[in-house]
Structure formats: C-alpha cells, structure tokens
C-alpha cells in the first residue's frame, strides 16, 4: 500500500511538470503529428497498400503504434536524468517501497501516452481517417496500443537504471528509428524484399500496428503470413513477453544500484 501511494506521489510530480512546463509534452505531440502529416501527405501519394485501401487509414494505426514505441526514449531519459541528478538516491534513502520509483514512472508515462493516443486519434479524424468498426473493437485497439507502451516502458526503466551516462539514452534515441521503420507501421511488409519483410512481420511493433488496423476496421496491408490471422494474439503476446523479461531485469538493475 505504501509502495502504491509513494508511486502515486512520484507520478503526480510528473503531472505537475506538465502544468509548469507544458511545452515539453506539447512538442512531443507536435512531433507525432508532424510524422503523421509527413507520411500521410508527403510520402503517402507514392505508397500503395497491398490488398487495397486508403493510405491514411492504413497509416494512422501504424503511427499510433510507432509513437507508443518511441515512448521508450522518454522513459529511459527521465530515469537516467533522475539518477544523474541524485533524485533517485534521495528516493532510495526514504522509507518507501523499492518498487515506488518505477511505479511512479509507469503512472506518469502511461498518463502521458494515453493523452498522446487520444490527440493522435483526433488528429487522424481531422485528416480523414475513419474508425470503421464498433466502439468495443476501437477501445480494444487503444488498449493494445497502451499495452505496447507499458511493455516498452519497462525496457526504458531498465536502460535508464542500468546505464547512467548520457550515451545510453542517445543509443536508445538512435536505435528506435531502425526498429520503428523496420516494421509494418508505415509500409506493408509485403512491399519489402522478402527477407526484410520477414523481419518486419516479426517486429512486435508490427503486431500491434496490424492488430490496431484490424480492430479499427482499417486496411491491414496483409494478405498472408503470421500477421494475417494472428495479429491480435501477437499484439498481446509480444508485450506480455517483453514485460515478463524486463520487469525482473529492471528490479535487478534497481537492486544493483546498491553495489
């Protein structure tokens, strides 16, 4: 109980940052919207979706999934900054549960990403994207997107706790791009060379993007392969697997701060 309460206090600290410095989250949102516009209109005309369908409808769920994955960067940066500034040490010298620091991060980042999903959905609706399914399926799509965010959150916590130099967060910032683009978030795997398409199809990001397309009733750009009929299950399985790996690793990294 005290662990949860302390986690909530630490979450509130981040929420108070939004009020004090609204520009930081707003720039984050503008970045996502900019990517959406660049791909939707600048490149979109040159991209066809295998199996048919309009590119904006294909793109928006992919953009949502991509922005969830890019969240790993802000999580890792925030954790590493607190460690470097001694704030983590101060928390550790206090009578709070050892999970509180991570839980506080989880609460703040999930709140941030929920807002991001909603803003991107609104932005999508403004540029002609449509939900062609029922509300329950659409809600399930949002939950799967947030599940991916939850999974990469733990990767970010692990990285932020394990590597305290600024180099680690820069490595994450660079690595998210190839991982993000080597997926079906922006283009269908079926337009790629065979070997590249196979890698992209097995990217956890592709599972979430494809599942969200399916649940929103948007074109999936898939005619065959593992994502054709199992996208939703993969979009549950991948994040659960990542979480199962990185929660214990994060706990270990936190304990190792004592060494």
């Amino acid at each position: 109980m005290t662990t949860l309460r302390a986690g909530w206090v630490i979450t509130q600290r981040d929420l108070a940052h939004w009020v004090r410095q609204p520009w930081a989250p707003i720039f984050g949102l503008l970045f996502s919207i900019m990517l959406l516009l660049v791909f939707g209109f600048l490149f979109g005309g040159a991209i066809t979706v295998p199996g048919g369908g309009d590119y904006i409808s294909f793109l928006l769920p992919g953009m949502l999934a991509l922005s969830m994955m890019f969240g790993v960067e802000s999580t890792a940066t925030a954790m590493a900054n607190d460690a470097r500034k001694g704030i983590t040490d101060r928390f550790r010298s206090m009578p709070i549960g050892s999970a509180s620091v991570a839980l506080g991060r989880v609460g703040a980042d999930m709140a941030n990403s929920t807002v991001e999903v909603l803003v991107l959905i609104l932005g999508g609706l403004l540029i002609g994207w449509r939900i062609s399914s029922d509300p329950a399926s659409a809600a399930a799509a949002v939950l799967l997107l947030l599940l991916l965010r939850f999974a990469v959150l733990w990767i970010g916590i692990f990285v932020g706790l394990s590597f305290r130099g600024e180099g680690a967060t820069m490595a994450v910032q660079v690595l998210v791009w190839p991982i993000g683009f080597l997926s079906t978030a922006i283009v269908s795997a079926e337009t790629m060379p065979g070997w590249l398409g196979a890698i992209a199809a097995w990217n956890p990001l592709s599972a979430t993007a494809s599942a969200a397309r399916e649940l929103f009733g948007n074109p999936t750009g898939i005619t065959e392969g593992p994502l054709a009929d199992g996208a939703v299950w993969l979009a549950i399985g991948w994040p659960v697997l990542l979480t199962a790996i990185f929660v214990p690793l994060s706990a270990r990294a936190y304990r190792r701060l004592r060494d």
């Binding site: 206090v9 004090r20 001694g86 704030i87 101060r90 550790r92 010298s93 206090m94 009578p95 060494d259």
Partner: protein, 315 residues
C-alpha cells in the same frame, strides 16, 4: 544496543581496482555535528552512502540511530535525511511543491506535508521563493531547499555530503547557518567536506579520512595539537641583528628558533603558547628590544590535514 547516533565498524567497499572503504571506523554521539574531512577520493561519499543504506558494503557493520544499516534499512531510512553532492531537488517544480512531495513520500498526509513545507520554507528563508521554479534559484537557495528536504521529519541523523561545494562565501555562510539551526534542534549531523575552515567552523569533532579509512580523530583543537605545539612569531625591528636576537630568545625559551631574514621574523614551536609568550616578552625586555609584532597561533587545520595525509602517503 547503543546510544550512539552513528557507529561504523570496519566498513569495506571495493569498486573494481579501487578500495573505496578500507576498514572505516566511526563513532558519533547523538546531537553533534561531526566533520568527515579528507581529500578528493578519500572515500567520504562512499562512507555516507553506506551509512545512508544506499550501497551495500563488502564487509564490516554499521548502525545508524540504533539500527543496522544492512538488516534494518527501512528503520534507518525513517530516521535519516540525506543531502547529497548535487542538490537533489526537482528543478521544474517550485520549492513548496518539492517539500510537499518529499513530505508525502515520508508518509505525511497532504495537509500535514503542506503545513510542514511552510514551516521549513520559513526556517530556511525561502518563503519568498516558495512558488518559483527551483531552476530560477541561486546555488545557495537550492542548497537550502535541499537541506530543508532532508529535514522534513526532523531526522535523528542528517548526512550532508559537501554541502557548500561550488557556493560563494555568502551562500556558504547561509548554508552554515542552516546547518547550525538543524543541529540546534537535536539532529546529529555528519558533514563531509574538503574545506578545512568549514569543518573548523561547524564540527565539534572531526575525523580525517584518507584512502578509505579514518587516520585521525578528535576535536579541531586536539587535531591541531597532534601536529605539534603552538607557534609564536616575533617580528624583530630591522635595526636589530635578527640572528643574534633569535639566539638569545632561543636560549631563554629552550626551543629552536626558525628565522626568516626577508620578513625579519623569528618563530618558535612551543608547548604551551601562553607561558612561552610571557618568557619571550621578558627576554625581549631584558634585551631592550620592542618587537614590531608578536603573534601566538595554533597550527591551522591545513597544516594538520597536510601532515596527516602526507604521513599516510609515506606509509
């Protein structure tokens, strides 16, 4: 059980090739400011981190406020405040917001945390800046907020790791005032510093640290005496022969004279300064010399520090 605020017994901690703590012993009774003095890399911060339950040592044991740092860390954490080397406060939030947050983390209700924050802002002279973002604070203000955050529950023991590093003299004085204020309310303070005058100003007792262990321990005066006796310096008028005067004074005192022709001064290291002073005045009187200046002083902590740490290197 024990009544000491801090007790460390043979703490050891190794980081790769570096033996950061090498049999660190410390005993601090409650309610005093204890200085932990040493050059960079002596192991001061590692010692503080070990006592504040932040790191696990490889060997030895320690009790803080009566609780074992290894097996009763949670109890220790309820009774300590930690103010680390860099001001560990949230820069985006305001001063009051910081204190309310830390208060709630210490288990206070929101209302109690707010009330305590207001008290502390007042005590540490930050009421006027309470709502401003900490990033707009001066170095001294930030430090004082940091101290206030470490003092929320009126801890039994407060760890201050180099609290005035990088501050200008005025801000340093303000922080010193705050530290005295904290100690006056019964909190035991362990203060690490590499500034000798800081330890001299604040600490009732000092432990000098080098290479991971305590190499000397005592009140500032005791430490100064360890290095040798007092110094008496006579400035002889230029009209008088320096060496001859020095020899006469040396004979009268029974101590060796050290002369400096440039400044025309003669210095004696003496056991008891005040007695020697009387002897010198009498001898000068007999010689019919009026000294230009006559100074009695203790060795400075700088001399203590250099002597002790040099000895350590020579070993």
């Amino acid at each position: 059980m024990t009544d000491n605020a801090l007790e460390a017994d043979g703490l050891r901690k190794r980081y790769g090739d570096l033996q950061a703590l090498d049999g660190f012993d410390l005993t601090v009774p409650p309610g005093v400011i204890h200085g932990l003095l040493g050059p960079n890399g002596a192991g001061k911060t590692t010692a503080v981190k070990a006592l504040a339950t932040l790191i696990r040592t490889d060997g030895g044991s320690a009790r803080v406020a009566g609780f074992d740092v290894r097996t009763q860390a949670r109890e220790v954490r309820r009774r300590i405040g930690l103010v680390g080397q860099n001001a560990a406060v949230d820069e985006i939030l305001g001063g009051r917001q910081n204190l309310v947050m830390f208060g709630r983390l210490f288990g206070l209700s929101t209302a109690a945390a707010r009330a305590r924050a207001d008290e502390l802002l007042d005590t540490f002279g930050l009421t006027g800046a309470a709502e401003r973002a900490v990033s707009t604070y001066s170095g001294g203000m930030r430090r004082r907020l940091d101290l206030a955050a470490g003092f929320i529950l009126t801890p039994a023991v407060l760890f201050l790791d180099e609290p005035t590093t990088g501050l200008d003299p005025r801000a340093r004085n303000e922080v010193w005032e705050s530290v005295r204020e904290i100690a006056a309310r019964g909190t035991t303070v362990l203060l690490t510093t590499q500034y000798l005058d800081e330890a001299d100003q604040l600490a009732a007792r000092i432990s000098v640290m080098n290479h991971g262990r305590v190499v000397a321990d005592g009140t500032p005066d005791e430490l100064k005496r360890q290095v040798g006796g007092d110094r008496v310096t006579v400035t002889v008028p230029r009209s008088e022969p320096l060496e001859a005067v020095a020899q006469r004074l040396a004979a009268a005192l029974g101590e060796a004279a050290v002369t400096d022709a440039d400044t025309h001064r003669v210095t004696f290291e003496v056991g008891a300064g005040v007695v020697a002073l009387a002897d010198i005045v009498r001898a000068l009187d007999q010689l019919g010399i009026a000294p230009e200046d006559l100074v009695l002083r203790r060795p400075t902590l700088d001399e203590v520090f250099l002597t002790l740490t040099d000895k350590e290197v020579a070993r």
